[in-house]
Symmetry: D2
Subunit: 208 residues, 4 copies
């Protein structure tokens, strides 16, 4: 999978880091670990893109509580943090990029990516919101970087569930790290080979 950069976050609370572990199991891709902070994440992303010069960038974060792998569709120009980041920063209703457009759509073929994950046995779906915290911040920053400086790059964001170890006694949905890695491998492969214009016309919207 030449030309794919996958990024993961360091843990928000200093604990486990299953999304980073999952990324490490995807064969043949470049990876970058990003800080869990509004200040710094986008600079690290820019540096990683400059270093690896990828054709496809897939940023990955954890959406604890979701039962399946979700391919995000849209990044919004909004930081609205309901908890502080690792640096204690907590922006409310600020733009990610002052003067940027309200939103960017993923340029990954989201339906084909979902279908590819399912084809390798991993439950997956399209998500219509990446929230307004660090994951959306990174997603928007990536798409703005692509739009303004790297128009040939395809980019998008994928949310992954808790690992079983994180929720042993919590009755919360989870997914083994190896299974997450299978989904990410299928998604990365699809992102390299299918353009957004060639995306599958599959059902995948939300009523609300």
């Amino acid at each position: 999978m030449k030309g794919v950069l996958i990024t993961g976050f360091e843990p928000l609370d200093g604990g486990a880091n299953p999304s980073w572990e999952a990324i490490g199991l995807v064969p043949g891709v470049r990876t970058a670990l990003l800080p869990c902070a509004f200040g710094g994440t986008l600079e690290h992303l820019r540096a990683a893109v400059a270093e690896h010069d990828p054709a496809v960038v897939v940023c990955v974060g954890q959406a604890g509580g979701r039962p399946d792998v979700t391919v995000e569709r849209v990044a919004v120009n909004l930081d609205d943090a309901c908890i502080p980041d690792r640096a204690g920063h907590r922006p409310i209703d600020e733009p990610v990029v002052r003067g940027g457009p309200a939103a960017y759509f993923s340029t990954l073929p989201v339906k084909a990516c979902v279908a590819a994950a399912r084809a390798v046995g991993v439950p997956a779906s399209v998500s219509q919101s990446a929230g307004t915290f660090l994951c959306n911040h990174l997603f928007y920053g990536l798409m703005h970087l692509i739009a303004t400086e790297r128009p040939a790059v395809r980019g998008g964001f994928v949310h992954v569930p808790f690992s079983p170890e994180q929720v042993l006694g919590e009755a919360s949905p989870s997914m083994p790290v190896a299974m997450v890695a299978q989904a990410l491998t299928a998604i990365a492969t699809t992102a390299v080979s299918v353009s957004l214009g060639g995306d599958l016309r599959l059902v995948g919207g939300s009523l609300h």
Copy 2:
């Protein structure tokens, strides 16, 4: 509440119409009933706006399963229907407005609207996605109309829960119509008196 237009949808399936009933209980506003179809809804909205010449437009729809009143933050330029509309139409991955921007933010003071609903005793929160079905279609169409033709108008979208009558035996969250009307009254009043720039800086984002 001079100058407020509130719209509701006709029922998707010909059954009950609690959001329309709720709108009818909001004092001192103009109302319009819109068809539950991708073809036609925006034309009806345009006609209602032309007729009433409002200062504020609040479109209302039902988000069955949500437990509280949700003030939507962002409309995306995407129709992706997971079920057919009343006319049997089911667009997949098509823009609401060809060539329109990826998204518009609500120009209602969403945090102040949420606070106003809570202040009258109704659970409420900000929502980061209005889905990709008719509600988002209408919301995007409204914001595009405002952006391109009616820049002085403030507009946004509010989702309301099932009514109790709709889910008597389904163990699903619901809210009485009169209570929904109280929230909508508080939201409309707030939308008239508070500008987006004067919105409250309250916690209200989503982690993912």
Copy 3:
């Protein structure tokens, strides 16, 4: 509604007490307020039953997070507290009554009670577990009292949702106190007029 005693709990945490308020709105019944503690609740119940000599006893508690009124079917002989009660007591895996049977079924006509609540417009269902905390403790204690000393009395337990005031900003299901009272009135009326043997044969079980 001659001969009906309805009991409510004092708040666990000293805060609001919507179930007690709801009980106060049920016309023509006797009520008793019970302490939120493993030690004391059953003594208070016994005293209230002795004082009022009711034909029907309906104990009521709050099941925060449930969206509808639930008529409990079975009380089990088990105290297993996941949090301390108001007195700081936290029994783990102890019987409610040493030597008592494993469980008692409600002697209210649970299906007819559910149907009666729905008939007055309140979502309701049968629940197969009242948990292992104070509500089940009281429910089991009531049924044991009836079985051993008051065989002519009908008894059961009803769980009610959060009130809206308790969850204004929490995106949790809720139900207005007046609506809860309507359901309790319908349930009490049904419990007086319909015997367990005359219960309706309606669908109301759980798959698991």
Copy 4:
């Protein structure tokens, strides 16, 4: 694991059978496949117990929608089917065993079983209700058989989540079959070595 019999159900709808597959991966135990029907399941269970003469019987069923492995605590003497079984039979409010006690507690050390599953990395918890369908029917029938004819046998019931293959596009929690098998192995090992009297005093109750 000498002396352990684990039973699984045939699929309710003729589809996949992950719980049966999982059981097949538990080393060193005897297994039996039971029909998904109120008429017949208990006869098959009795025959399997007679054939294998086990010291421990663990019956396993699927609880689709639950995110973790749940060790059931109590079986109730009630068949109340909300859907028909495979034979089209749908009992409503009938006893499993006419004249039997209202309930039996599991004689597995449920807290120790939960702890054992977590210790091998599988999310698990105690459940206070096995429903009123076939799983509870089998669980009650097992405990009644033990109580009346096989007092030396320990028995209980474990519910397992959907497999990923069953919910690829449904955004429902799931767990890989191999992981379920790990939990069942840990539970069976614990059930052999720890008596009910020696169960761990761990938190594991439910508020309601």
